[in-house]
Structures are given as structure tokens and as C-alpha cells.
Symmetry: C2
Subunit: 214 residues, 2 copies
């Protein structure tokens, strides 16, 4: 059955999934690359940047699951571009002409625009819908495959709060970020709906999986 999944969602020890001061030059604000270094160090992560080598263990396994079985993504406006991207009609995301999604991507925004077809199978659709309705659209587009909730934290939190996430893979990076946007706020007791596993990696992070309890 088709699932709604969050994959490789990195957090600091204090629960921040992005820093403060997001802008074009710093997509994660003062967090810089620190939340995602573990990912870049893997072989799969390296391939994304055209680099050979990298680790092949548990970090790599999780990174590789990013697109396995996924037929559509939903992301928040804050992930699609820096603050103010809505005023730039030419903005097509951070990811260049061939984004790493290769599926329909539904961008949640209060200012929808025409869909944009990119190279490699990614099409950005812009929709002003609440989580459950956006998920219906994405499920239809995913054609029996899973839907990934891609972030940022505000969007993931909204889908978790609405009980719409079947599988959450969060990665705790042992740094204290201090400021930014937190994932866990307003989700008291979330673990009660899930089977939770935690495993550390030699890369120094903690992989948490929340799987919807049967």
C-alpha cells in the first residue's frame, strides 16, 4: 500500500531542522552544511555531487532510500526557495535544470503559479491546499507509489500533527544549533502512534525511524 514518508530529515540535538537567517547564499542559514555533512560523506551522497567514493554503511543505506518507491513529493514554500522567491517569476528551485526528485513535486504556497516541467522527470506544481488535500493530489500523481514529505520542518510538522505520516526517518546530528526552526514543537506524544527505532552510525549521527504502529 502507498505510504507517506519522510526520509533523511536531519535535526540538531536541540531539534532544529534548519538554522536562522535563510537566504540565497545560505539555504540552511547559520546551520550551514552541518546538518547534512553525514549525507555528503556517503557514496550515494557523493554521487549527487559527481564525486566518487564515500561510505557504504548504514548512512549510505538510508540516503539511497531517498527515492526508492517514491512517486511524488510535497514540499513547503520555505524549501523551494529563499524568502521572497514568490516575487521572482524565473525562480525554479535551488537544484538547477535537473532536480534530484524525478517525479511530480507539489510546492505548498499561498501564491500558486503555473506548473514548471524540468529535466529528468521533475515537474513542480504550486498549490494552496491544506495538508490532507495536498496529499490527495500527490497520491494521485504518485500512481500507487509512496509520497515523500520533503520538508522543511514547518511542513513536516504540519503533516505529522495531522496524522498523515506513515514513516518518519529523522537523523539527529550531535550539534547544538541554538536557533532556527524546530521539528518537534506541538507534537507531544507523537511516539505513541509509532514503533520507534534508534541506531547510531559510525558517521556519528543517530537514525530514528518512526513506523506507524500496526
Amino acid at each position: 500500500m502507498s505510504m507517506t514518508r519522510v526520509q533523511n530529515f536531519s535535526l540538531s540535538l536541540d531539534g532544529f531542522a534548519t538554522g536562522e537567517g535563510l537566504r540565497l547564499e545560505e539555504p540552511f542559514g547559520h546551520a550551514g552544511h552541518r546538518l547534512h555533512e553525514w549525507m555528503v560523506a556517503t557514496r550515494a551522497g557523493g554521487e549527487m555531487f559527481g564525486r566518487e567514493g564515500g561510505t557504504r554503511g548504514v548512512d549510505d543505506a538510508f540516503v539511497r532510500l531517498f527515492d526508492v518507491g517514491v512517486g511524488a513529493e510535497i514540499m513547503g514554500a520555505g524549501k523551494f526557495g529563499p524568502p521572497g522567491w514568490q516575487d521572482d517569476p524565473a525562480w525554479r528551485g535551488w537544484w538547477g535544470p535537473n532536480p534530484p526528485f524525478h517525479t511530480p513535486v507539489f510546492v505548498l504556497t499561498h501564491r500558486p503559479r503555473a506548473s514548471v516541467e524540468m529535466e529528468g522527470g521533475t515537474t513542480f506544481h504550486f498549490v494552496d491546499r491544506p495538508p490532507a488535500e495536498a496529499l490527495d493530489l500527490a497520491r494521485e500523481a504518485a500512481d500507487g507509489h509512496d509520497v515523500r514529505i520533503g520538508g522543511g520542518p514547518t511542513t513536516v510538522r504540519a503533516f505529522l500533527a495531522a496524522g498523515l505520516v506513515d514513516h518518519l526517518h529523522a537523523v539527529v546530528v550531535p550539534i547544538v544549533l541554538g536557533r532556527g526552526v524546530r521539528l518537534w514543537d506541538g507534537l507531544e506524544g507523537l511516539e505513541q502512534q509509532y514503533d520507534v527505532e534508534a541506531v547510531t552510525s559510525p558517521g556519528g549521527v543517530v537514525h530514528l525511524t518512526f513506523s506507524r504502529a500496526a
Copy 2:
């Protein structure tokens, strides 16, 4: 050399080390026992409650380090008793006639009272001192042994912020507590002063050790 240590300090995923609504019947408020079940499940934890059996793995190893090499503890007023204990001259802590410390314990309070000698080697001293001065007192009392910063979160945070902690053992319990008192607030970049390790246990928690970088 004598160290300042935090041992077995439990946190929720969202960073709360205690819940909301602390009172005599609920020392950790709405968190109940959830932050400390991992500890009670160990053999060492069981012994504290006069129960036989329990796990003997990594959780137990950490629990057993609680008093190894420790010559004094410092705790905040919020750990010593429920809100208002200062108005009760007969209050002698939560722990009965023979508290589990067996050393001098310095209770930080703006309303000091006379020291209280308990059974088993614990003496409570009540001092109105900032962290560094309280630590000087405790170090002298510890006579070459380590000083444990016993909590609660506000006190541990104050000692961390002042750069006075050599070793922090924090235990992340995979629950979302939602409210209470957080440990990590105001500690941005803390990890830069420490070597950090994370290890998960079959008991389902994550042991984090922050050891002062050489």
C-alpha cells in the same frame, strides 16, 4: 585530576529533562516515569529499589557510573524538592532517611538553611552561590574526587553555559514530551568544546557523551 561530571541525565527527543506541573506526587510532572524507565530496567537501577534482576548491558554500565569516583554533588533547588519546599523546615529531600548520594550535596537556593546530616554519608548543605563558587565549595568537599552536577536542567544548563562541565552523559529517550524544562537552550555550539559520542542501547535509548576536548 578531579572532574566535573553530569551522569545519566535523561532528555526527551525534544530536549526536555523534566515535564510540566512538578509537585510532590509527580516529581517530573507530566513526564511521569517515562524519562527514567530505561534506568529502572537495569540491574543497578533495580538494586536501588530492592528488586533483583534487570539488564546488564550498556544501560546498566552507565547507571553504575553514577557514584564511581564522585566525592560531592551539586543540585538545584528544583531537584531537592517540589515547589515551595523552602517553606517546610522539615523537608529533607525526596529520598528518605538514606539518600543515594553518600557524599556532601550542595543544594543551590536563595534561601539557605542549616546543613542536614542524613544516614549513609549524605549531608545536605544549602548555599546561595553562583556556579563557579558552588563548584569551589564542592571540589573542596570532594577531596580530590569528582563533582557531579546532579540537575535539574536549569542547573546543568547553567554549569554548561559557564564552561564548568568536563563530562556530560545525556540519555535521549525517544519520546516527544512537548513541554517542561529544556536542557539545550542557550548552549549554541556546545559540541565544539567536546568530543561527542553517541551509542544506542537495546533498551531503546541513545547515550550521548560529551567529553572535554583535550
